[in-house]
Amino acid sequence: MFFTYLRRELGNRKKQSIIIAMGMALAIALVIIVNGVSAGVKSAQSTALSSVYGVGTDITVTKTATAGGAGAGGQQFAFGSGDSASGSSSSKTKLSQSTLQLAMGTSSLKESSLATVEAVEGVKAATATLSLTNSSFSGSIGAAPSSGGTSGSGTTGKAPTTGSGTDSSSSTSTGTGPSSFSVDSFTVTGISTTDTSVGPMSATTLDSGRYLKASDDGTKNVVLDSTYATTEKKTVGDTLTIGGKKFIVVGIVSSSSSSSATASDTYIPLDTAQSLADLDGKVTDISVSADSASDVTSIQTAIEKALPSATVSTEADLASSISGSLSTVSNLVSNLGKWLSLIVLAAAFAIAVLFTVSGVSRRTREFGTLKAIGWSNGRIVRQVAGESVVNGLIGGAIGAAVGVAGIIIVNVIAPTLSTAAAASTSGPGAGGPGGASTASTTTDIALQIPLTAGIILIAAGLAVLGGLLAGAFGGWRASRLRPAEALRSVA
């Protein structure tokens, strides 16, 4: 009886049933998609973060460069006697040079700071890294009419004297033959060979070869990021020039989280990096993991006190430093998406309630009659609530189908979101080789929305909730009808 009556009533008032179901479907589809995208964006964010800062890093300690400070400026190429220049055998002069400097916008900390950080209570592990940029310049200059120029005439030293007439720019301007230059840069990170539970290596998996180990200290062994290795066509056993020195590739790693690249193009032992870059006893980042998440804030405060000149960032700070289209989508989802789905959900519930209540009012005589022939209030309330819950569930099923379809479509399209960790790019020095170092810290992550059983539960829960809400109001209305209404003469 219950189901027969319920089915007939929903079927008989198709228009009303469809409006209630559609409202519910729209709201639930929206909630599912917004929820899904927000989960997808969150995982993309943590992917971006972990590829930059490593997994399990709760706090990072850095030092922001001051404008004009040492090592913060742009790249300069100084050609000295040590550089290779071979021009005698042909009409062209070939030049190449490779320099290793602090990454733009960063400044160094004393390596002893690591010990200070490790001494802070609640710190589980800490590791120091040195982020560098290797810039190599290579090119050829057409034969110069005079032999004055650049063939190793003794302009030695690393004098940062751009435009002083000693470098190639003056040669090209004096009307020589066809010349070509290329500037190539990649990132080099000096890492601890022993402490890898935290820091950049913790977010990687080994593709081939091996990780750096303690015996690599001081050697010229390098581990490459797989993306970089692919573009440079390097495999284990190949050599790579860093800071003018030949390194042997001992391993290739890739990001353990999805498709993004790891934090750096290349990884070398910390002490090798320090001596090559002339930065003995210096590091740029200290990655810290805490014993427990609740300690993070107190550890941050303690480190800030111990190292007043350093910038101490928590994971939350880092998340807000993520920029690029990922953060745009993230903001869109968390602001517009949430409000929109809330408003639509509220509207759908309101529609369901209003239509159900007005439906009950139109059936006053019907419910009065049922009461007059002995139906209890409870049975009538159950009937009304049953109708609206089933109506809501139909809407919920449609909404879930539309929402899941939407998620599948997003996953098939897999829109690419770019992320840039703001800390690495917003350096004051803008005089470097056009954007090369900026590109290397930008990660493209394809948005993938996790399709979970939780989504179906959300849909079912909201559908039942909406149905119950409408049923409660409708049932309350029906329960207040007097059985004597049945005797009202026909209108």
Partner: protein
């Protein structure tokens, strides 16, 4: 022995043997500022098995009286007894149970559920925790048979004539085998031929089943077929 209950109408006996015993029943409706006294101090005993016709001018209180008898509403003051059960002070649940088991109702407008078939409409008369499904179906079929509509069981109300709809409503009222059948102008919406058919049907039912039948009617032809005729005007009941 009924001596403990003082009955104002000395000519009739109240108590558990009566179908209804009404004592000093008043019903007042309050509408904003205006109050309407639909029943004023009604004393009435209806013995079991009686066929009673209730007549009177429009607005006289006929439907209100039927609501008191049918446990649809409580009086403002006074006592309404169905058999030995006091309805004036009973809870909503108790009133609903009384309606579900003891009382059958037939309305002027038939009041069938438009989305349910004839058989399903009859089936709505069973309370929640009643018979198993098969027994119910059997009784529904028997009830429809007894009003001559066995072939129309699967029809919707909209597919039936007025007289046929009222027969379905009578089957619905009878299927639970009530002790009392109350009808508020059951022929008011029907033409003369059909009216006679329905009255004959109701009389037949009354005679066969020995139930108490109270019919409110404007129609003197209908009223003449009753054992007892009551006249109610301005909320006061008199015998005819």
């Amino acid at each position: 022995m009924t001596t403990t209950i003082p009955t104002p109408l000395a000519t009739t006996t109240g108590g558990p043997d009566a179908a209804f015993t009404l004592t000093g029943v008043t019903k007042t409706y309050r509408q904003k500022k205006r109050t309407v006294e639909a029943l004023r101090g009604v004393d009435l005993v209806i013995p079991r098995g009686q066929l009673v016709a209730v007549q009177g001018p429009t607005g006289g209180g006929k439907s209100t009286l039927l609501q008191m008898l049918g446990a649809l509403d409580r009086p403002t003051s006074g006592s309404v007894k169905l058999g030995a059960q006091e309805l004036a002070t009973a809870s909503d649940g108790a009133l609903a149970r009384a309606r579900a088991t003891e009382i059958g109702f037939v309305f002027q407008g038939f009041n069938l559920i438009p989305t349910l078939s004839a058989a399903e409409n009859v089936e709505t008369a069973f309370a929640d925790s009643s018979l198993p499904r098969d027994a119910r179906r059997t009784r529904v079929a028997a009830a429809l048979e007894s009003v001559g509509l066995a072939e129309r069981a699967e029809h919707l109300p909209s597919e039936l004539s007025g007289g046929q709809q009222q027969r379905v409503a009578i089957a619905r009222a009878l299927v639970k085998e009530p002790r009392v059948l109350l009808a508020d102008e059951p022929t008011g919406a029907l033409d003369e031929v059909t009216r006679d058919e329905i009255m004959t049907l109701l009389e037949g039912v009354w005679r066969e089943r020995g139930l108490t039948l109270v019919i409110v009617t404007h129609d003197s032809a209908v009223a003449r077929r009753a054992e007892r005729r009551l006249y109610i005007k301005a909320g006061q009941v008199s015998e005819r």
